[in-house]
Amino acid sequence: MSELTQSSAPRRFIGGQLLGSSQLVLGVILAVLCIAISIAAPQFYSEANIIAILRQCALVLIVASGMTMLIITAEVDLSVGASLAFVGCIGMAVLNSTHSLTLGLLAALAFSGAVGLFNGLVVTMLKVNSLIATIGTMMMLQGGVYLFTREAVQNHHRLAGFTDLGAGYIGAIPLPVVVAAVIFALAAATLRFTTLGRYLYAVGANERAVRLSGVRSQRLKLFAFVVTGLCVGIAGMILSSLMNAGQPTAGRGFELTVIAAVILGGTSLLGGRGSLLGTLLGVLVLKVIDNGIIILGWNQDLQMVVPGIVIILATYLDIVRNRANVG
């Protein structure tokens, strides 16, 4: 249908301008959800509830920030949930034996960064598809954490700073929310304004073209894997602080929530397309649904069912929108 090229070019261009509208759609969905829930349950807008939602969002957003970069390069990491649990256990164990918050955090970051590096090397050097590679890592970590500890690693060190990690505030804002906001801002600025960010999109859009242009595409992917790993390290320590223990069973299904938020936010699994703003909205939508189900007193199992429906619907809407643009 090459005959169409000339005429459809301007229309596609308008479509390109409206590309941000996947975020617009998401924003509208979010607003509708908030209004609907608050009509049914006015306590939705209480300060306590909003802070609870934000704290819920923080963990997901921290990891989703790294995951957005990774998916933009057309790779994915399914091991983040398993890694999250393992990191908490290791961090807590190091805290117990050293009584140093710094060493505990460093151990957690070193471990999770190493997991990211391992994933990245398997994908870039051994050329194993990232979906498969990180399922492998996930299984190794899920089993490995039980080799490390059969039960939860309890808090024996009583470090006040550690408790603050999850429960502290800066002004009126919970510390995890501040941490998430900082990581989000850094990642968003990187993707939007830096050469590194531009290369991440480029690798996802066409890795061979990037390589031919003299850019080391493997290192870019490796970078995204390690950043995702480090985000897991931070989130894992916050989670263990919130639970006041390193839980080997924590984080089951966490990877799905994170990836769902990223995809919901309009980032393409094929790479080269996506934004952190979208991811933020995706996280908010999922967590507002979660919260709504709880405060409306619905069956909690719906917390899995409803987001599942939302993801399929949102992705379908995206396809419809793209089709409308192409004509």
């Binding site: 169409l4 090229t5 000339q6 830096t194 050469t195 480029a202 061979r208 073209a209 242009s213 080269g272």
Partner: protein, 510 residues
């Protein structure tokens, strides 16, 4: 289904005075564009009729109307003298029109014979399929068109050229009176092309009207009796091929004269060695290739399909690994052997496969152009977008890249404009050696001369241009020296003055 088509020497019973297909005043609109406007086309039985035009001229729309893929908005179609109403691909087949599209529509997992009789298997007792008969009938069909394919072979395992033959054989099963071939040679080797031509002539001899859709001039001159040219959805001319020359055909296709397809503005090449390749071998293809390219020179590489040109191109820029040999750019060895080092030393590849190795289709024009030189627009790691866009805009203006804006997704540009974006990518980076692989593949005749002018300019600015091409006119028109490859080896290097089509082809055959 009748079986009379099985007699190898029988011709289709046709009245040669009645056109096999007549299209009158065909019109077709898509939202926002007139794809076809009042187009006429008449196909005579037993004749080969070429349909030519640039991309966007309306060729594919017209044949899709014949095939029943699109409906027409205006005009009428007559088959063998009577009005025909084609509403679906099924109608079209029933009316005796068989279109062989570029994308081959066979079931890869089925045998050749099964594919041929897909629409109706001959059945034996109790409705069971008569496999023996299917194979025998298929073999007979191939004999009839003068081509040999094993009917039991799995279709997907055959080369494209043979799959095309299977499609053509299907035309005979349907007793087609009109066979349409859409750009059938785009992925064939020269040998396969000549086989295909034999088969097409055989079809014509059987009394079938053949419509041959192509934009390759030499092929059309070789095979067609008559040629119809479309431009911008309108009928431009229908003339016997004998009344055309290369120039008149091009003029009809692009609507203006091209004075000189290969304008040479650059001076004589320098003597400074910009690229030196010594004893280069790769695991799969290349064997002991050595040559030098000078600054300001276009060194053309010719070879038949499979000679190793693309492999050489990818090896010397560091994209594909090598097993032995040295490459140096301006005296510096390409070590380690990767594209990062290559680009740093100043050698880059303009790929033959724009879609999978060149373009980032979803991303805007300016990001595609600046990909290799992004570092030059960075301050502390941040992209200075204003200066980046200004630099790209500069190239868009200089090279007359037709795009609505810098933010247009590059996949929406025409092939010629995409190629200019990719050339800009390298010029913005600044190279000493540029390797161009089939620089005009998939590019319209009109845009070709612009690409040639650009290549001339690159050499004029002092780059060494290493050009891989399978197009003889391109080679003779642009190159200062000509290197010829055969099966991974370099078989000759000659100056432009020594080169003739004959000695180039001799060296290419080995």
């Amino acid at each position: 289904m009748s079986v009379d088509f099985l007699h190898p020497d029988e011709t289709v019973a046709v009245d040669k005075s009645v056109p096999a297909l007549e299209m009158r005043g065909i019109g077709k609109r898509f939202p926002g564009v007139v794809a076809l406007d009042n187009v006429d086309l008449t196909l005579e039985p037993g004749k080969i009729h070429a349909l030519m035009g640039e991309n966007g001229a309306g060729k594919s729309t017209l044949i899709k109307i014949m095939a029943g893929v699109y409906g027409k908005d205006a005009g009428n179609i007559r088959l063998r003298g009577r009005e025909a109403d084609i509403k679906s691909p099924r109608d079209s087949l029933k009316e005796g029109i068989k279109v062989v599209f570029q994308e081959i529509a066979l079931i890869a997992e089925f045998s050749v014979a099964e594919n041929i009789f897909l629409e109706g298997y001959p059945t034996g007792k109790g409705g069971s399929i008569d496999w023996k008969k299917i194979r025998a009938d298929a073999a007979a069909l191939f004999r009839r068109i003068g081509f040999n394919v094993d009917p039991a072979a799995r279709t997907g395992s055959l080369p494209v050229s043979q799959q095309q033959m299977v499609e053509i054989a299907r035309a005979l099963v349907h007793e087609a009176r009109v066979v349409v071939m859409d750009e059938p040679t785009s992925s064939l080797t020269p040998n396969e092309v000549s086989l295909l031509f034999t088969v097409i002539r055989r079809l014509a001899a059987l009394g079938i009207a053949v419509l041959y859709v192509s934009h390759k001039l030499d092929e059309v001159f070789e095979i067609a009796d008559t040629v119809t040219v479309l431009r911008d959805g309108r009928h431009v001319s229908t003339r016997p091929i004998s009344e055309h020359t290369n120039d008149t055909l091009i003029q009809d296709m692009i609507g203006r004269r091209i004075e000189n397809l290969f304008p040479r503005k650059r001076g004589a090449p320098g003597s400074k060695v910009a690229l030196s390749v010594q004893g280069l071998s790769t695991a799969k293809k290349l064997k002991d290739v050595s040559f030098e390219a000078h600054a300001g020179e276009v060194l053309g590489f010719f070879g038949l399909m499979g000679a190793g040109r693309t492999e050489l191109a990818k090896a010397i820029v560091g994209f594909d690994p090598i097993t032995s040999g040295t490459i140096s750019v301006d005296g510096s060895p390409l070590l380690p052997h990767d594209t990062h080092t290559g680009v740093r030393l100043g050698i880059g590849l303009l790929t033959e496969d724009r879609k999978s190795e060149g373009l980032m289709g979803e991303l805007p024009v300016y990001q595609n152009a600046s990909l290799a030189s992004l570092g030059a627009f960075a301050r502390m790691g941040f992209v200075d977008k204003a200066s980046e866009r200004k630099a790209v805009q500069d190239y868009v203006d200089r090279f007359r890249i037709r795009t609505p804006s810098l933010f247009q997704q590059v996949k929406n540009l025409s092939g010629g404009n995409q190629q200019k974006v990719l050339i800009s990518r390298w010029l913005m980076r600044g190279l000493k050696v540029i390797v161009v692989d089939e620089p005009t593949r998939g590019i319209d005749v009109g845009a070709k001369s612009e690409i040639f002018a650009l290549i001339d300019r690159l050499a004029g600015e002092g780059l060494a241009v290493v050009m891989m091409t399978s197009e003889m006119p391109e080679l003779l028109g642009l190159a200062d020296r000509i290197a010829v490859m055969c099966e991974g080896r370099l078989t000759a290097i000659m100056s432009r003055d020594e080169a003739t089509q004959e000695n180039i082809l001799n060296a290419a055959i080995g």
